[in-house]
């Protein structure tokens, strides 16, 4: 065993010396390779963590949302629509939700105004999300001005802010009383934005939805499962930006592999010839090339993955921030809980290390099986 280890160490010594002879080219390769792995791993880590966070956070969202549609658009729903829904066997609860968007010209941001179920804030007061607090520099005791549907200005006092931990779901939220909501938007009494429905048995949900659609033909039903699937597909590989990143990474790998697979340089070829001439076996040459592949690709994998982890979970994916913010004025400041599993590493390994190592070994094997005399000429 000791002899085997010593043999490997000698070959590694030789391989590293050989790599160091072309240190400029190999250093550039190492840096680019690390960057490609870093980019891919950052995307994989971030997307998985967000998906998992969404699945945990949204598990208590309503089982079904019922919205009234008119001329292809979402319309206010009459409160009288609640009774047919409550009459469906299997429905345990249904309540109307009042929520809407408010564009704030002062900050240039969109807020989500919502009326919570009791106990909500008393009339004349609001609770605001951390994002709203940041863009308006508003804190407890301050007053925010809202322009209502008829142009009158309404002053509402900030009674408090929603916790910082929940920013991923509440950053742009403003919780108002029902009275103030109706004053701002002019929503008539007896109408709501939509209904949130709870169903006793989740397996009956699709049946309940079909019955609701039959009873109220001008409504659409959004099932919890659809909400989950929406967030499961968020940042999917088919989404534009993700496809661009993946294509970029894939092309980079193809260029690297092609560069290696298209043949060895005459210097590398001569080196193999000399090694064979002084008594190296073909297997020794292949072992050397294996360690060369490992030195470049495995080192890049290690560095890329560790840097990506730090990037996503310690700096909240700061490099993706500009892309994620888009044109949003109000953006949540959140740190996703690290969620990684072994399969992600295996995928990155097979994507980064295996193709490069194979592409390094095959042309070397071809060169190593040729007569040393002809290779050296």
């Amino acid at each position: 065993m000791e002899k085997w280890i010593e043999r490997q160490k000698h070959i590694i010594d030789f391989t590293l010396s050989s790599l160091l002879r072309r240190k400029g080219k190999n250093a550039a390769l190492l840096v680019v390779y690390t960057l490609v792995v870093f980019m891919l791993a950052s995307v994989v880590f971030f997307v998985q963590a967000i998906k998992r966070e969404a699945s945990v956070i949204l598990k208590d969202s309503p089982d079904m949302i019922v919205q009234r549609m008119s001329a292809g658009r979402h319309e206010l729903i009459p409160a009288s629509y609640l009774d047919p829904i409550l009459s469906i066997r299997g429905v345990s609860a249904a309540r109307s939700r009042l929520w809407g968007y408010y564009y704030d010209p002062v900050a240039g941001a969109n807020y989500t105004l919502m009326v919570p179920e009791d106990p909500g804030p008393p009339a004349g007061t609001i609770l605001i999300g951390q994002g709203v607090s940041r863009v308006r520099l508003a804190h407890e005791g301050d007053t925010l001005e809202f322009r209502s549907h008829d142009g009158t200005l309404i002053d509402l006092e900030v009674k408090g802010t929603i916790s910082r931990e929940s920013e991923l779901v509440s950053s742009d939220l403003i919780l108002v009383s029902e009275e103030d909501f109706r004053r701002i938007f002019g929503t008539p009494v007896g109408f709501a934005t939509d209904f949130a429905v709870r169903v006793k048995n989740p397996r009956e949900l699709s049946t309940v939805a079909v019955k609701a659609a039959g009873l109220l033909p001008d409504t659409r039903q959004i099932l919890k499962d659809e909400i989950f699937r929406t967030y499961d597909a968020v940042f999917s590989w088919r989404g534009g930006m993700m496809l661009v990143i993946l294509c970029g990474a894939l092309l980079a790998f193809i260029i690297l592999a092609w560069d290696k697979a298209s043949g060895l340089s005459s210097e590398e070829r001569r080196e193999i010839g000399i090694l064979k001439a002084i008594g190296w076996e073909t297997s020794d040459v292949l072992l050397m090339k294996f360690w060369e592949g490992m030195a470049i690709s495995f080192s890049s994998l290690l560095a890329g993955v560790i840097l990506a982890y730090a990037h996503v979970f310690f700096t909240s994916a700061v490099l993706f921030e500009a892309a994620l913010k888009g044109w949003s004025v109000l953006y949540p400041e959140f740190r996703v809980t690290p969620f990684i599993d072994f399969s992600q590493l295996v995928i990155l390994f097979f994507l980064a290390v295996v193709p490069y190592t194979v592409a390094t070994i095959i042309p070397s094997w071809r060169a190593a099986t040729v007569d040393p005399d002809s290779v050296m000429r």
């Binding site: 967000i50 956070i57 179920e117 916790s163 950053s171 939220l173 659809e226 994620l324 004025v329």
Partner: protein, 102 residues
């Protein structure tokens, strides 16, 4: 020190950091369980349906509630003028309706 020893040390350090990464993730997941539950409670209490990831447009703020009249209506790969539209897929319900043109 031999080059091979330095290289093997580097590999060992890298693999150790990789293992520590999993340990850190596991500790953070356990520690963050309360915070995640607090968020889930708020979602349940207010009846929320979406994450506040993109606030630039109504249909990206409440992605699962997006309407058919939003820019996604023409097809899941239609041109989209808000940058976040290039990061997320249209909601499942709309993809289902537009499945034939996808």
């Amino acid at each position: 020190m031999r080059k091979s020893s330095l290289f093997l040390l580097f590999l060992a350090a890298g693999i150790t950091l990789l293992v520590l990464m999993f340990v850190h993730a596991s500790v953070q997941m356990k520690g963050g369980a309360a915070s995640l539950q607090a968020k889930a409670d708020l979602v349940g209490q207010l009846g929320l349906t979406d994450l506040c990831l993109f606030t630039e447009a109504s249909y990206t703020r409440h992605l699962s509630q997006a309407d058919l009249h939003t820019p996604f209506q023409n097809g899941p790969v239609s041109l989209e003028h808000f940058p976040s539209g290039s990061l997320v897929m249209p909601p499942a319900a709309i993809r289902k309706i537009n499945g034939k043109v996808d």
